[in-house]
Symmetry: D2
Subunit: 126 residues, 4 copies
């Protein structure tokens, strides 16, 4: 059933839970018996490798040029979506492997950052 | 209202949409006027930097030791959750900045990978 | 004259100074007017991108398999040499751009590490 | 004798061979029996981790600001030298582990790049 989503693909961020994406990624891996390769150590390497590929798209661009991509270079945005997907797929696999609730982890970290960087003190600066 | 979630934090992956997490991250940034620093180029660097910090936790572990963390080292799992959250927060910011629908990007990429790695041919091997 | 080395290539680690390698890299860049792209920020990204490509060669290998490459897979060693060269070339460019004496930096760091990790205390462990 | 260099430290890039630096790094590792941890896989991770730490120094700087560091921020240059040293120390360890002659690898790669990017065609552009 999940597999069928891969074909239809009408789900969007507005109506897709983190758990649903995690499940898709788990299902993809299980169908190929890849759990044996997906040790947490290897998955952490995979996240870093894919992150570097995403970054490579910006290697020689100025920050301003990187901002303009969104409006001016549709093909670049498509490529970036693919590279970002690679990073996120491995993040989801890592969360599956370590039994991490991403929502909890993200909200805890944002709460911690909110204390570290109070709004009035860090307005417009680091 | 979103901010209040940061305190209560009862949301979980099962009932949290990608869009909701994206919105939390956007709100956090907007309250500090950090959009000016968050160019796509800088965000891609940030994803890679945080990915390396996650990987650092596994630097000297064997793959087997990395698997055992989940059962044997609760504090390590907490740290890994925090590091993973950092990677994901920047991924969400990047998707916000580039107007990328993560669900679409992930499902498109899984569909592409499913063609590249047919289940029967890649069962248990790469 | 330096350029001619690129063709002959009889220099080896035993008789090549760091300064000579730095000069080769500087010359390569100057002949193409690439100094304008080689900001320290961009070069630091380039080092990280090439490091990830080197790491990619080991993504799914066990540590033991990675050790055996040296004896068992000549082509892999050649590829690794190329990937390592990419990392080092950008390190040399970075040192050129920031006017860093690599030998001094490395020896200072080793001296600092020697204090941090006394031989008897860290024998065989971290 | 090598160890004594760590204290005196008068060697510079102009009179230090790659082989001499490799030997220093090998000696440091041997004195601590760390060869067991330094699998090629782990060393490739270490290079990437240290590269990310170097990059972190530039995370929120513009390219222009990154250029000015060299003249305007002596302490930043010192920190960058240390971070670069970390990357290079692991590169030297990796070359030791894989029996790679760095000079040969770098010159071969520059020769390959010189063919890929002819001077007249790539003058001032990528």
């Amino acid at each position: 059933m999940i597999q069928s989503h891969l074909g239809v693909n009408r789900m969007k961020d507005a109506d897709t839970t983190i758990a649903a994406l995690k499940e898709l990624v788990r299902d993809f891996r299980n169908r190929r018996d890849w759990e044996q390769f997906h040790t947490p150590k290897n998955l952490s390497m995979s996240i870093a490798i894919e992150a570097a590929e995403l970054m490579e798209e910006f290697q020689w661009l100025t920050s301003e040029e990187s901002r303009r991509l969104r409006e001016e270079d549709e093909r670049a945005v498509t490529r970036l979506g693919e590279e970002l997907a690679d990073v996120i797929i491995y993040c989801l696999s890592f969360a599956n492997a370590m039994n991490i609730d991403i929502t909890t982890a993200v909200m805890d970290k944002l709460a911690k950052n909110a204390k570290k960087y109070p709004e009035d003190e860090y307005k417009g600066r680091f």
